[in-house]
Amino acid sequence: MPDLNQLMALPGALASFEFTDKGELIKSNFTEGGGLDETALDLLSHVCVANTAIATMQARGWENMTGNKGFYPVEGFSMIGLDWTTVTHGQFGVVMENDKADIEAAYSALA
């Protein structure tokens, strides 16, 4: 299980968070003055759960239709914003600054 403090050690990490399977925020860490708070992370968790559900539907449909396996089950969803990138996997996520973000390292840390 990922450790929220260790996730904060990822390059450019602004926040790390854990959420329920419905997207409700359970625990979070965030840097002071980083512009994030628990309300924003709770909403973000809901967004990530919603998109993972949609991506799971797409992966299932795509595999059935094309016969190409390797997309399902979805192991992570990321959103890339203007300045921040969010990476989630399962019930954990991390927000990083774009110019420092290492998305592969984030997926490894979350796995």
Binding site: L14, G35, L36, D37, T39, A40, L43, L44, V47, A50, N51, I54, A55, Q58, A59, W62, M65, T66, N68, K69, G70, F71, Y72, P73, V74, E75, G76, F77, S78, M79, I80, G81, L82, D83, W84, T86, V87, H89, E97, N98, D102, I103, E104, Y107
Partner: protein
């Protein structure tokens, strides 16, 4: 389109494509047939629309948020990853390519593309 040629030349990229925001056309390069590329375009476009709306909402609730406007998204599966920046999609075989390098290239090349057409 130059970026599609660039992407398909990068290790691990199976297919790269462009879809119109209106959903009425698409182009692609790589290992897919026309029908699959069309379906991939439909899926990527639908997710992009959804993510754009969600990041706008996040931006509304979280002032000075770095999420909005959205630039793209990534979905990772056990063997394959799909990543989208602006209206360009890319299917990657994870064992053969670096998501970081591909994303970095896409973000650099597409940094001037605006979200106005979405």
């Amino acid at each position: 389109m130059k970026i599609l040629t660039d992407l398909i030349g990068m290790p691990g990229v199976i297919c790269a494509g462009e879809y119109s925001y209106r959903g009425d056309r698409f182009t692609y390069k790589g290992q897919m047939d026309d029908e699959q590329a069309k379906q991939a375009s439909i899926m990527c476009r639908a997710t992009t629309m959804s993510v754009y709306m969600q990041t706008d909402m996040l931006g509304a609730f979280c002032k000075d948020s770095g999420w909005a406007p959205n630039r793209g998204w990534v979905v990772k599966g056990p063997q394959f990853t799909v990543c989208v920046i602006a209206n360009i999609f890319c299917f990657i075989n994870e064992a053969q390519g670096s998501l970081n390098r591909i994303l970095e290239h896409m973000q650099q090349e597409l940094s001037d593309v605006t979200n106005e057409l979405v």
